[in-house]
């Protein structure tokens, strides 16, 4: 009886859990936020170029270092996920710890990038009309960093769970959410830096 019912039910239900679905919808919502900011940037830039009021500047090197860090952190996040999938439960905490350290270094590197921008004379509040480009860089990277903080909280929770052996082959929901969200943030950052590079 029950197997039959599970099958008939699955035609009406998606195969993945509600929590994963919720994560994806959250990702859609925050993508809209980044789309809004980057379109605002683009529109502003076109306007500014027409009025000779747009300052193009090279992004500080720290932003590029961050890009490498976030990429590696995603790789380790994936390793953690794979370890869980293969039931290598005794590897997950260390892999997550490395991911966490990389995530924190990303934050530091972003901070150093802002310091560098300040040293270049580019502040959050602009002096010249054209310097709004710098304000936008602060906003985009700042809002992204804010999302990263959320991701760090998720990683810490996953780490705690993994030490309690609550993440393994049969219990993948949470690590899956972490992985999805973290990859999303990595992709957003790579998008942002390429966008800022090509549309400077």
């Amino acid at each position: 009886m029950s197997t039959n019912n599970i099958q008939s039910m699955s035609t009406h239900k998606n195969s993945f859990s509600e929590k994963t679905f919720i994560t994806w919808l959250f990702i859609v919502a925050s993508s809209m936020l980044f789309i809004a900011f980057s379109s605002a940037y683009w529109v502003h830039k076109t306007d500014g170029m027409n009025n000779n009021a747009w300052l193009s500047f090279d992004l500080p090197i720290q932003f590029w270092i961050s890009t490498v860090i976030v990429f590696i952190s995603s790789v380790f996040m994936q390793f953690s996920f794979n370890a869980a999938k293969n039931d290598n439960v005794y590897k997950i905490p260390s892999l997550l710890t490395i991911t966490l350290i990389l995530a924190l270094s990303f934050c530091v590197s972003q901070y150093l990038a802002w310091v560098e921008m300040k040293d270049m004379g580019l502040f959050f509040s602009n002096r010249e009309p054209g310097e709004i480009s710098a304000s936008f860089v602060y906003v985009l990277s700042g809002v992204h960093l804010f999302h990263i903080l959320g991701g760090i909280v998720l990683i810490i929770i996953a780490l705690v769970k993994s030490t309690r052996l609550e993440i393994h082959k049969k219990s993948m929901v949470f690590i899956n959410i972490c992985k999805t969200y973290w990859h999303f943030l990595g992709i957003v950052w790579i998008f942002l830096i390429l966008f800022l590079y090509f549309a400077k």
Partner: protein, 642 residues
């Protein structure tokens, strides 16, 4: 059993979990706090939304009456102003700045707090789980958070009436520079800060709620409830939630940039501004039009976020009470999808006269006019459903038909406003006020009333008084037209909106009699709402007891017991065999055919599947040991000893 967090697949776990609860009704006693305050039950959350929405509605309506008094009798003094508003009504005269504040908060309350949260929040929460056949929302906890963010947001917004400089006054759209410069007008100070905080809390609430609605509809339908058997209410709530999910984050973006401009010295929206006595500001390079783009990217979908639930509710109420299948179910769904899609590409029609490229304006004009097509499809389908129906004039039905009327008369003027050229004359005039109050304000309020009267028995287990309801309907219907119809003519003659006093300008002074007429009619409408309030609260406590399916409706919510229970159905969740609108089928004796009625076949039961075991079967260790040994496993490639 393991907790939900670590189950491999809570989708199929949760029904069983709840089934256990369902079998023994009112199993465990809940404390007052967990039952009425921090409740995670969707039915209770729905009531919380409704009551909060009604309270906010009273504030919004009260404000409109106050500023209507000012418009009708600008030279009179009303001690009422002074006693209510204190220094803003000195000597019984309304302060011009405060007039703007009242208009702004009135618009904000009506649009966001009453018709977004009050309408969508109430009925999505009540009906989604009940009509799709789910025990509760996908995440009851997020659902509770959603309500409390909304509540907090309401409190923050209303608290702006208590601050020295008054509430935000730059219109419900809070355009910069008025909203960006603290010194621009009194309300631009703390009042606007509170407005922005309130809206950010509101956005969080809307996203938490909306994500839940989408997941519940797509993931948690009962057996047999395929998408093409969903009641139209659910389609409307689903698409509304999708609109919110895609557009509210953009408003958040707009708001954040505005906050940076206000408090952190950036100039996203500011340039070349001279302020009285302050001289030129240092802000340069920004553009207020950027704000308008971001705002209206939400703003236009927002009007459909308001309207679509009302349309969905009317579809259900009309079909049930006309005892006929809804005419063109698929067409109804497709037109909702069409409206949703189009609503994202028409925002420019609010900005025709910002100096946009005429070519762009023309594009926005075309897509705007195309919205008339799905809207007309919906209207004709309502009319065709009513045609030759065996109509039962319940109060809900009357309000639903009222919605159709207002949707037509308000919608037609949208075609005028959508014309880029005509809009040069009509923009920011009372024509706009007339248009949006009919098509969005009144139509959606009527949908909300239709929903309240129709589902009151489900929410509170009591019936509302029909005589009072009929009176409420007619008075509201008549006053809506008396208030808003004359505004069209004022607008055509060029009377601008958001003006404090018209008697000083001869061209506008000739409309004084009309203004008095409108205000008197508005008070008539106000009295009608008192009837409603009395009926609503009196019926909760003293109303006639409701039966299980008082309107003889087909949908699943009427198969649940009158007394609410946690998990909705005492036994198994009903299985669905057909669409929601099979009324008056010629081959059936009774004129309705509930979705869960197996007909001639044997009733099937929904058996919740066996939960998957998610506990860890390997060797167990203390967390700290696991943590440290994991490094050894990683770096020294140590093998796990089983």
């Amino acid at each position: 059993m393991s907790t939900v967090e670590i189950t491999a697949n809570p989708t199929i776990d949760s029904p069983t979990h709840h089934d256990e609860h369902g079998h023994h009704d009112h199993h465990h006693k809940q404390s007052f706090i967990s039952k009425y305050i921090f409740s995670t039950d969707h039915k209770m959350i729905s009531k919380q939304y409704l009551i909060t929405g009604i309270i906010m509605g009273c504030f919004g309506m009260g404000m409109s009456l106050l500023f209507r008094m000012q418009l009708a009798w600008p030279d009179e003094t009303f001690p009422l102003f002074e006693s209510l508003l204190g220094k803003w009504g000195k000597g019984g005269k309304l302060d011009p700045n405060y007039y703007m504040a009242l208009v702004t908060i009135h618009g904000t309350i009506m649009v966001f707090y009453v018709l977004t949260a009050g309408l969508s929040g109430t009925f999505s929460n009540l009906l989604i789980p009940l009509q799709v056949g789910a025990r509760d929302m996908a995440s009851p906890f997020m659902n509770m958070l959603s309500y409390w963010f909304f509540f907090l947001s309401s409190v923050v917004l209303m608290s702006s009436f208590l601050v020295e400089t008054g509430p935000a006054s730059s219109g419900w759209t809070v355009y910069p520079p008025l909203s960006a410069l603290e010194k621009a007008m009194p309300g631009s100070g703390l009042g606007t800060t509170l407005w922005l905080v309130a809206i950010i809390l509101f956005i969080v609430s809307a996203l938490l709620g909306g994500i839940n609605y989408i997941v519940t509809v797509l993931n948690m339908r009962t057996k047999g409830m395929s998408m093409n058997r969903l009641p139209l209410t659910i389609w409307a709530f689903l698409l509304t939630a999708v609109l919110g999910l895609l557009s509210f984050p953009v408003l958040l973006g707009a708001g954040l940039l505005l906050i940076f401009d206000r408090s952190f010295g950036t100039s996203f929206y500011l340039s070349d501004i001279h302020l009285n006595g302050v001289g030129a500001l240092s802000n340069s390079g920004g553009s207020p039009v950027l704000y308008q783009h971001l705002f209206w990217f939400l703003g236009h979908p927002e009007v459909y976020i308001i309207l679509m639930p009302a349309l969905g509710i009317s579809s259900e109420v009309i079909s049930t009470n006309a005892r006929k299948p809804i005419f063109g179910y698929t067409a109804m769904v497709i037109s909702l999808i069409g409206i949703s899609f189009l609503s994202f590409i028409v925002w420019g029609h609010h900005m025709f006269i910002t100096g946009m490229n005429p070519f762009l304006g023309t594009m926005f004009m075309y897509v705007t006019l195309i919205i008339a097509v799905p809207s007309a499809v919906k209207t004709f389908n309502y009319l065709a459903t009513l045609w030759k129906g065996n109509i039962r004039f319940t109060t809900g039905m009357m309000f639903a038909i009222g919605l159709v009327s207002l949707f037509i008369s308000g919608g037609l003027t949208g075609i005028y406003l959508g014309n880029a050229a005509l809009d040069i004359q009509l923009h920011d005039s009372y024509f706009v006020v007339a248009h949006f109050h009919l098509v969005m304000g009144s139509a959606a309020i009527f949908g909300m009333f239709a929903g309240i009267y129709h589902w009151f028995p489900k929410m509170f287990g009591k019936m509302m008084n029909k005589t009072l309801g009929t009176l409420h309907f007619w008075l509201t219907f008549i006053s809506a037209y008396l208030v808003f119809f004359p505004m069209h003519f004022m607008g055509l003659a060029g009377v601008p909106r958001r003006y404090y006093q018209f008697s000083l300008i001869p061209e506008f002074d000739i409309w004084m009699d009309v203004n008095v007429f409108i205000t008197v009619s508005a008070f008539l409408g106000g009295v009608a709402q008192l009837l409603f309030l009395y009926n609503f609260f009196n019926s909760i406590f003293r109303g006639e007891k409701a039966t299980k399916n008082p309107w003889e409706s087909n949908t699943l919510e009427w198969t649940t017991p009158v007394e609410h229970i946690h998990g909705n159905w005492p036994g198994a969740i009903p299985t669905v065999y057909r669409g929601p609108h099979e009324y008056s089928r010629p081959d059936r004796e009774s004129d309705y055919f509930p979705q869960n009625d197996p007909g001639n076949g044997e009733p099937e039961h929904y058996h919740a599947p066996v939960p998957i075991d998610t506990s860890y079967s390997g060797p167990k260790e203390k967390p700290s040991k696991v943590f440290f040994s994991s490094f050894a496993h990683l770096f020294l490639a140590k093998k796990v000893q089983a």
